[in-house]
């Protein structure tokens, strides 16, 4: 996971571009391969496809022991992201969850892609997608549920 590799794969990590095997329809993300992992076509003909930013959790695990720089417990999931045009197969994407309680996860749960800092290469931030439940779902779950107009905070 070097910064160089992330620079080369910017379309995947900044734009959710994936690669569809023209022989069997399998969608590779984020790797841009020569050989199809499913049908074995080599070299396979891959076409770029655009993934949607909303998908479904297929399986997940909550990691409780990680290096100190990670927040734990850290849920990790495999998420099926459909193609934006509604055609073809979804991509099966492995990703970290952010701002998500493990108790809020289940197979089939809808999550959205969130563009976040994944790690740093030296001092340089490397961004890509994590997943989280849609923000709209948590409105009013905490806080008082009201937007402020005319507020004049004291200080």
């Amino acid at each position: 996971m070097s910064g160089i590799r992330y620079s080369r794969d910017r379309r995947q990590h900044d734009r959710l571009v994936a690669f569809e095997c023209q022989d069997c329809g399998w969608v590779s993300y984020p790797e841009q391969r020569r050989t199809c992992k499913r049908c074995g076509a080599a070299p396979a003909e891959f076409e770029e496809v655009q993934l949607a930013e909303r998908g479904e959790v297929q399986t997940y695990v909550v990691q409780s022991r990680l290096p100190e720089e990670f927040e734990t417990p850290q849920p990790v999931a495999v998420v099926d992201l459909p193609q934006v045009d509604g055609e073809g197969e979804p991509a099966r994407v492995y990703g970290l969850l952010t701002e998500t309680d493990g108790d809020d996860l289940e197979v089939g749960r809808e999550v959205v892609a969130r563009y976040r800092e994944l790690f740093t290469a030296g001092d340089r931030p490397v961004h890509s997608f994590k997943f989280a439940p849609p923000r709209a779902e948590s409105i009013g779950t905490d806080g008082d549920g009201a937007g402020d107009r005319g507020g004049e905070g004291e200080r």
């Binding site: 996971m1 734009r15 720089e69 701002e99 563009y115 107009r149 507020g151 004291e154």
Partner: protein, 338 residues
């Protein structure tokens, strides 16, 4: 005429209750302040707000001709935000970019650049501000140092969300409050700042911006680090002016406050509302006069677009220790280059 085609705000989900901070150091404080998660940066917050503004404008990023970004807390001296936001949303190649910094007034520097760009070329510009204010335990500003982003899409269409009448500049060169990279601000003498800086500069800028407006303003956004002074400036604008502010829930978020409060205003104001939006910072102030054309579009469920009010209401409260820890840059020692 240049218009705001769409606007969007981004408020981090994590919040600290100011009482919690006051408890640590003594004193009292009310309200809450937005805390960026550990994996949020000015870039990620700018990307979120820009996505909402584009969705509201019903535009794809590939249709953008320019992206201008403002930030006073980008941790990197060379890296930039504008081009990153542009690429993320699909804009590349013949796309003008600009990064504005050095004063919270960079918010309106960027806005004015976007307006000039649209007026000169007839193209479409995205303007975004994103900040994550640094804190120091026990510093006066600690309870109010927030994080947020906001964005507007500017074009010259007639059916846009708001018409921009003018952007008036008032450059004084006056600097009292100042801040080193990564450090909280030195406020200096607040009374001097209020009299010679803020107080003197805002009403003039507002008056000039409003010269071309059809009506007196009904609402105002004033982005300034000191909320009491901001409220004072609103009171000096003639007529009944409602102060639209997210300060009680977000705190002060540098250049983002201007765009976030403007998005909140556009999402909540009635059609026909004339408003003034001001950004103040070292060196002077600028005022934008605008009229809301119609009811601004609300949430688009499918695109996961949420209003500022909805994001304010979607909060998870963190402890004092988390509030400090989330603001440190993580060292990813467990992840290494291949």
């Amino acid at each position: 005429m240049v218009s705001i085609a769409g606007a969007g705000g981004y408020v981090p989900r994590y919040r600290i209750e100011r009482e919690e901070i006051a408890r640590q150091h003594g004193g009292a404080a009310s309200g809450e302040t937005a805390v960026a998660a550990r994996d949020e940066t000015p870039v990620t917050m700018a990307v979120e707000a820009a996505g909402t503004a584009l969705a509201r404008a019903d535009l794809r990023g590939t249709e953008l001709d320019a992206v201008f970004a403002a930030s006073v807390t980008d941790p990197l001296a060379e890296h930039g935000i504008a081009a990153h936001v542009a690429y993320r949303h699909g804009a590349e190649g013949d796309v003008r970019t600009g990064d504005f910094r050095g004063s919270p007034r960079a918010a309106t520097d960027a806005f004015a650049a976007g307006r000039h760009f649209v007026a000169a070329t007839g193209g479409t510009a995205l303007v975004v501000g994103a900040d994550q204010m640094p804190v120091e335990p026990g510093h006066d500003d600690e309870p109010y140092s927030g994080a947020a982003a906001g964005a507007v899409v500017l074009d010259d269409a007639d059916d846009a969300a708001a018409a921009v009448h003018d952007v008036a500049a008032n450059t004084t060169g006056f600097v009292e409050r100042h801040r080193e990279h990564g450090e909280p601000a030195e406020a200096g003498d607040r009374r001097v700042a209020a009299e010679m800086g803020f107080g003197g500069v805002v009403p003039d800028a507002a008056e000039r911006a409003l010269a071309e407006a059809p009506d007196a303003p009904d609402a105002a956004v004033v982005a300034a680090p000191d909320q009491r002074t901001a409220a004072g400036a609103v009171s000096e604008i003639p007529g009944e002016v409602e102060h639209v502010s997210t300060f009680d829930r977000v705190g002060y978020a540098g250049t983002a406050t201007f765009f976030l409060d403007l998005a909140h205003l556009l999402e909540t104001a009635a059609g026909g509302t004339t408003a003034i939006a001001v950004a103040y910072g070292a060196g002077g102030a600028d005022a934008v006069a605008l009229t809301v054309r119609d009811e601004a579009p609300g949430r688009d469920e499918a695109a996961d677009v949420t209003t500022v009010a909805e994001q304010l209401a979607s909060a998870e409260y963190v402890t004092y220790a988390e509030h400090l820890r989330y603001r440190e840059r993580p060292e990813y020692e467990g992840v290494t280059a291949e």
